[in-house]
């Protein structure tokens, strides 16, 4: 285990070989007041006085705070149903900025909000991919599309945290899978190339399909713990952005074959995604890596 991963002693340790280990950036969960990027000395000078004033204050809630609350509710319910449950979310909080001030503020914020975060990882400038892989991280999550992109490029399965337009404090954890990649085959790649999709994009779609299987299987197993009515705690959705309906059936059956029976399905056939996503408000948006995910909530 990498020396930079720090255990949160206040939270009960989970069996990471059995748990669904996810890594989330601290800038998604908290409003880091400008400290989220690794800063230059000049930036530090600018932010320093501000930081000194806020030294012991917890960070404010960030765009994906509702997500971490929803994850927590799922864990709580799973343990309520079975105190010996090992299929839980095991959250690693990833921070790029490793300065001692920020580290302690992040740790304090986690305690302040009572967050079920098992480990901290302060990566600094280092490549975060290897420690994530060696810690069995099933999914890296961030509200920042660039973060997600970089992770995918380094072979870490990654998905977008959709920015919630309403700070929901109740409701299920919503996991959305974009299923067009599931319908991608040699036949269908050619017309996509003709329409202007680059090789890199096509490759990332194909790679996304493989990575999706592992996470979908986990979600399927976890979803089954709650029974058919359990979509009030964990709600799984399929979205087809452009594929025709037969591909949608194929995707539903593929996911079913992996053990995931999604609760909701949307087939858009090219219609604009933003209004649908704005209403659906997913937490995790498992896209094909085409960077089409919406960062801004539309017309809330």
């Amino acid at each position: 285990m990498d020396g930079k991963i720090v255990l949160n002693a206040r939270v009960q340790k989970k069996d990471s070989s059995q748990a669904v280990v996810i890594a989330v950036t601290s800038s998604s969960i908290f409003d880091l007041e400008g400290w989220q990027k690794t800063v230059t000395e000049e930036d530090k000078q600018e932010l320093q006085p501000h930081s000194a004033a806020n030294e012991n204050k917890p960070f404010k809630m960030g765009a994906a705070f509702p997500f971490i609350m929803a994850v927590q509710r799922v864990n709580e319910k799973l343990l309520e149903m079975n105190p010996e449950e090992t299929l839980l979310f095991d959250v690693i909080l990833l921070s790029k900025n490793g300065s001692p001030e920020i580290r302690s503020r992040v740790e304090d914020s986690v305690v302040h909000y009572g967050l079920d975060i098992g480990r901290f990882y302060f990566s600094g400038d280092d490549d975060f991919a290897e420690p994530l892989r060696s810690n069995n991280v099933k999914l890296f999550l961030s509200t920042d599309a660039d973060d997600v992109c970089k992770a995918l490029e380094r072979g870490v399965p990654a998905a977008q945290l959709y920015q919630q337009c309403v700070q929901e404090t109740a409701g299920p954890l919503r996991v959305l899978f974009a299923g067009d990649a599931l319908g991608l085959s040699d036949d269908t790649e050619h017309p996509l190339r003709e329409q202007g999709f680059s090789e890199a994009q096509l490759q990332s779609i194909a790679a996304a399909k493989g990575a999706m299987k592992e996470f979908a299987t986990c979600m399927g197993e976890m979803r089954r713990r709650f029974g058919r009515d359990g979509s009030s705690l964990l709600c799984t959705c399929l979205m087809m952005a452009w594929s025709p309906r037969d591909v949608c059936v194929g995707a539903l059956k593929t996911l079913r074959g992996w053990g995931l029976e999604v609760d909701e399905a949307f087939c858009l056939a090219g219609a604009p995604r933003s209004p649908i996503l704005a209403h659906l408000q997913p937490h995790i948006l498992y896209d094909h890596g085409l960077q089409n995910a919406r960062n801004s909530p539309a017309q809330c």
Partner: protein, 363 residues
């Protein structure tokens, strides 16, 4: 009721991402080897009709399983019978007629996006989607857009899809939609099946509280018919306010004009009817003048002067008939017309002229 298509919902900065989706859809549809299907139109140009699963297909038996045995058993049943197509439902003839109109529009305007777009909008569970899509394939319906919300209300998605008309069996959802400014109606099965035209879509509308507001109905209910007649004569030249289905008539009119422009008025595959209890002599003029002031045409205006609507509708054979009063819906059903109730206005508080108690909620 605003025409929601005029205001574009999507953000302009999202355009590049959404263009990619649009382009990918074209690629996907162009690539279909088995059945060449046209890509569905862009929502902002299309006339979007959202139908629920229970209006598109007959799911009475399955619904009973859901009500008696619960969700788990219901979904399991649907999965077991996935490969068996469902029987057509009450909105099926209407959907087929929409497809006929689309075929004619594509002949005349091969590149136009101004078509009917049929969306399956259901709070059915996504796993039932497999059977629904298999059934859609079986009847070769052009439905490519789906929202299966697994128990959540689909109302929010109606706006997201820029829906022009929503049809459901659930009157609560229909009411919610109307309150959100979306034309909607609760569909009822006819007691017998009248053969319908397969070359022309026929849509019949009641006037007050459907195309027009219920302002005049209020006068009838509160002050009686005589006052109503006087009032209508006095205000003959003042247009009535809009009703929940005005925008849908408008959308139909836009498509009709595309045929007129190409000299196809005689063979126009869309025909609209006004079937109103008003009488031509006393209160009819205001209605016609209102339509004219809105720039809308209606092909046939039938003034019944209070006579029952059933027999006339049986002659017209519409694919759908919209009325706000259950009394007329029942009259239509009896003689084989597919009727759709618009739960709007003061008519909801009355049945057969008598004020009803609002103490029970529809299931």
């Amino acid at each position: 009721m605003s025409a929601i298509k005029i205001n574009d919902v999507s953000n302009s900065k999202d355009d590049s991402g959404e263009d990619k989706d649009w382009v990918a859809a074209k690629a996907a549809y162009d690539n279909l080897k088995s059945t060449k299907k046209p890509r569905p139109p862009k929502p902002q140009h299309a006339v979007t009709i959202a139908v629920s699963s229970r209006t598109l297909f007959n799911m009475v038996k399955e619904r009973k399983i859901y009500e008696d045995e619960g969700l788990e058993r219901y979904v399991a049943h649907q999965q077991q019978h996935e490969e068996e197509p469902l029987m057509p439902g009450v909105a099926f003839p209407f959907v087929k007629a929409l497809m006929t109109v689309n075929a004619r529009l594509r002949e005349l305007y091969p590149d136009s996006e101004e078509l009917f777009d049929i969306v399956l909008m259901t709070n059915n569970h996504a796993q039932v989607g497999v059977r629904l899509i298999n059934s859609i394939n079986h009847y070769d319906l052009t439905i490519e857009r789906f929202c299966m919300t697994g128990g959540e209300s689909p109302i929010g998605y109606l706006k997201a899809y820029m829906t022009n008309l929503y049809l459901s069996k659930d009157s609560e959802k229909v009411q919610e939609a109307i309150e959100e400014g979306i034309a909607a109606a609760t569909m009822f099965t006819a007691n017998k099946e009248n053969p319908l035209s397969d070359t022309q879509l026929r849509v019949a509308f009641d006037g007050d509280a459907v195309l027009f507001s219920d302002e005049s109905e209020i006068i009838v209910k509160k002050h009686g018919l005589d006052t109503f007649f006087e009032h209508e004569k006095e205000f003959e030249n003042k247009p009535l306010a809009q009703g929940p289905l005005k925008c849908f008539l408008e959308a139909l009119g836009r498509l009709q004009r595309k045929f007129y422009v190409k000299n196809e008025r005689i063979n126009c595959p869309v025909r609209t009817y006004l079937v109103t209890a008003r009488s031509a002599a006393s209160s009819g003029a205001r209605v016609l003048k209102t339509l004219r002031s809105w720039g809308l045409e209606i092909d046939e205006a039938l003034f019944l002067a209070g006579a029952p609507k059933g027999p006339l509708l049986e002659k017209i054979r519409p694919h759908i008939f919209f009325d706000d009063q259950m009394f007329h819906i029942e009259g239509a059903q009896e003689l084989g017309t597919i009727a759709a109730h618009v739960p709007y206005g003061i008519g909801q508080k009355y049945h057969k002229g008598k004020l009803i108690e609002q103490n029970h909620k529809r299931k």
